[in-house]
């Protein structure tokens, strides 16, 4: 037990090596700065492997263990502390695990079929009852094994926490790398939620910003300066095909999808100053939502589709306002601190995450919409771009560390913090993608 707590409190460094076939893929590190002490103990025994003559292509149990550790809800036991390493039910000596106070045990096997495919068997067991809680045999392929491991972590999370896990999801983000000649290279990338398997969707010598996932996870809207002005594009992730959908004089930016995927809220200043508009994506017709001489920008769509939250400085400084998505009178929501911007609704619409600024400190804050309670979650100095995980348990955001801008994640109660850093470049504006339903 002690060793588990020590394990979680330690600064753990995972070096994740990218194997993606892209030119400039780089190492990404996940650093767990702070964990919680009441995390659920779990033992994930190294999985058995059918081909004794070769090493397994990936370490499935290690991926599951890392996922659960990162969530901060679990404290996976270290391998060296395990009393035995069973890989099937008959081998388990439940008494040995009971003596250690270990309630939850995961065992499994990775098998390769004659056709070269893989099958991952796993069982989650209740140590005290000596019974299986859940077990699956999941067919997979070599390129899908990491995904299968994340799916197993999702199942364990759901069984023991009661909420679907978000490990088998993806994140989008912008990277900036300084070239030797002083120019910059911007890329829009997507990767697995643990930072693996990055794919470049777009590369540009001009700034890229504000990636936004379509609700079905198949498209990304973003802002590109490739035509020497901010313009909004929508790109299909699978085919790479993209369409420029807003290229008016002035600002074209801050795209946000409606939950049904048919419309895109955005900021346009074509009529004189930045206002919120809603574009019907099939007809391209525009509905203007705000009418105010102040800055109105950064719309976010509530997940029930009824409301838009946005940033406006109509009251003097930037604050969060909310307006019916069909139009109406905006209502101010934030009152704590002189600067609140870039709202994002939690998946259940109960909370709104914002950038909260005071003097030279910018942190991620969360507003409880019903009670008005406002909490600051982060402790760093220049935090921005909060994005909820699709299960609402984590928020990924951008922070400025000693190496420049990098991604960080926190649990929504602020008890765990992690950083995701790209060697030799900046990573920013993370957007956590939706659940992908199979």
């Amino acid at each position: 037990m002690n060793s588990i707590i020590k394990f979680i409190n330690q600064r753990i460094l995972f070096i994740l090596l990218f194997l993606a076939p892209i030119a400039h893929s780089a190492d990404l590190e996940i650093i767990i700065d702070k964990g919680i002490e009441n995390a659920l103990p779990i033992a994930i025994v190294p999985f058995g492997w059918s081909q004794a003559s070769a090493l397994p292509p990936i370490d499935v149990s290690a991926i599951i263990s890392d996922d659960l550790a990162r969530s901060a809800r679990f404290a996976p036991m270290e391998e060296q502390d395990m009393p035995q390493r069973p890989d099937d039910f008959a081998q388990i000596n439940f008494k040995d695990w009971q003596k250690l106070g270990m309630e939850n045990l995961v065992i499994g096997q990775l098998n390769q079929t004659e056709t070269g495919e893989y099958i991952v068997d796993f069982r989650l067991l209740d140590v005290y009852k000596g019974k299986q809680i859940v077990g699956f045999s999941i067919p997979s392929g070599k390129d899908r094994l990491r995904h299968t491991a994340h799916e197993i972590a999702d199942i364990i999370y759901e069984k023991l926490i009661g909420v679907r896990g978000a490990f088998a999801t993806r994140i989008a983000y912008i990277t900036v790398i300084k070239n030797r000649d002083g120019t910059k290279k911007y890329t829009l990338q997507i990767a697995d939620a643990d930072g693996f398997n990055p794919q470049v969707l777009l590369q540009s010598s001009e700034p890229l910003l504000s990636p936004s996932w379509s609700p079905d996870g198949k498209k990304i809207a973003y802002v590109s300066f490739e035509s020497k002005n901010s313009m909004v594009y929508v790109q299909d992730i699978l085919t790479g095909k993209r369409e420029r959908i807003a290229s008016n004089p002035g600002i074209n930016s801050a795209p946000a999808w409606s939950p049904d995927g048919s419309r895109l809220a955005m900021t346009l200043s074509k009529d004189g100053n930045p206002e919120i508009y809603v574009m019907n994506l099939s007809s391209k017709s525009l509905q203007r939502i705000t009418t105010n001489s102040a800055i109105d920008t950064e719309p976010a769509w509530s997940h029930n589709g009824s409301m838009l939250a946005f940033t406006s400085d109509r009251g003097g400084g930037p604050q969060i306002y909310e307006v019916p998505a069909s139009g109406g009178e905006p209502k101010r929501l934030t009152f704590v601190g002189p600067y609140n911007a870039r709202p994002r609704y939690s998946p259940d619409d109960k909370y709104i995450a914002v950038v909260n600024g005071e003097s030279n400190t910018y942190r991620i804050g969360v507003l409880d919409r019903k009670s008005g309670q406002f909490d600051i979650l982060t402790e760093t100095r220049l935090d921005e771009s909060p994005s909820f995980s699709p299960n609402g348990h984590m928020i990924i955001y951008t922070t400025t560390g000693f190496r420049g801008t990098e991604l960080a994640a926190t649990s929504t109660d602020g008890t765990v913090h992690q950083r995701l850093a790209l060697e030799g470049g900046e990573v920013r504006e993370p957007a956590w993608g939706p659940f992908m339903n199979q």
Binding site: P207, L209, S210, F225, K228, N229, S230, G250, I251, S253, A254, T267, S269, N273, P274, I295, T297, E298, T311, D313, G317, P318, Y339, A341, R342, V355, G357, S359, N360, Y362, R381, L382, E384, S385, T400, E429
Partner: protein
């Protein structure tokens, strides 16, 4: 914070107002005193009639091509009044000349809000120039928000150089 920064501006103005531009570079600039103000020095403009394009004359007020702003503000401060007047007069007397006003913000806060702030700064300069006789059709505005900082770093000396409108002919 506002009182403090105002005091520092006044203090900085008294302290550095008469020193040379070279010395200013050495000073660790505090809040509210843009290091970029070193570029505000200009001569008496006695170049008239020499045949030199006034845009190329380092002694002309037209040589000042960057206007710096205070935090979250798009108000043109009095020290840039002459700069804006000179560019407006130049545009008014050269109606074929097109200028681009590029608005920028410092890195603090959200990127999209800063994009809007950069636009408001460029429009503030555009409107002022138009009031002073330039034609609105000669002035193009674009905002890069915080995406193209002039100075790297996360302190006020960098931020003050990044809150700016660049006048690009």
């Amino acid at each position: 914070m506002n009182v403090r920064s105002t005091l520092i501006i006044i203090f900085a103005a008294i302290l550095f107002g008469c020193t040379s531009t070279e010395e200013k570079k050495e000073v660790a600039v505090e809040e509210g005193a843009p290091a970029g103000e070193k570029t505000q020095a200009y001569g008496a403009g006695e170049d008239t009639g020499t045949g030199i394009n006034p845009l190329d004359d380092p002694n002309s007020p037209l040589s000042v091509r960057i206007i710096y702003f205070e935090y979250d503000s798009s108000e043109i401060r009095p020290q840039y009044r002459k700069t804006v007047e000179a560019h407006a007069a130049y545009l008014a007397s050269n109606p074929n000349v097109i200028v681009t006003l590029e608005g920028h913000a410092d890195e603090r806060g959200s990127r999209e809000y800063n994009l809007a702030l950069g636009e408001r700064r460029s429009l503030s300069v555009k409107n002022q120039m138009a009031l002073l006789g330039a034609s609105a059709g000669q002035i193009r505005t674009v905002s890069y928000g915080e995406e193209r900082p002039a100075a790297a770093g996360s302190d006020e000396s960098a931020w003050s150089q990044n809150r700016r409108v660049e006048i690009l002919y």
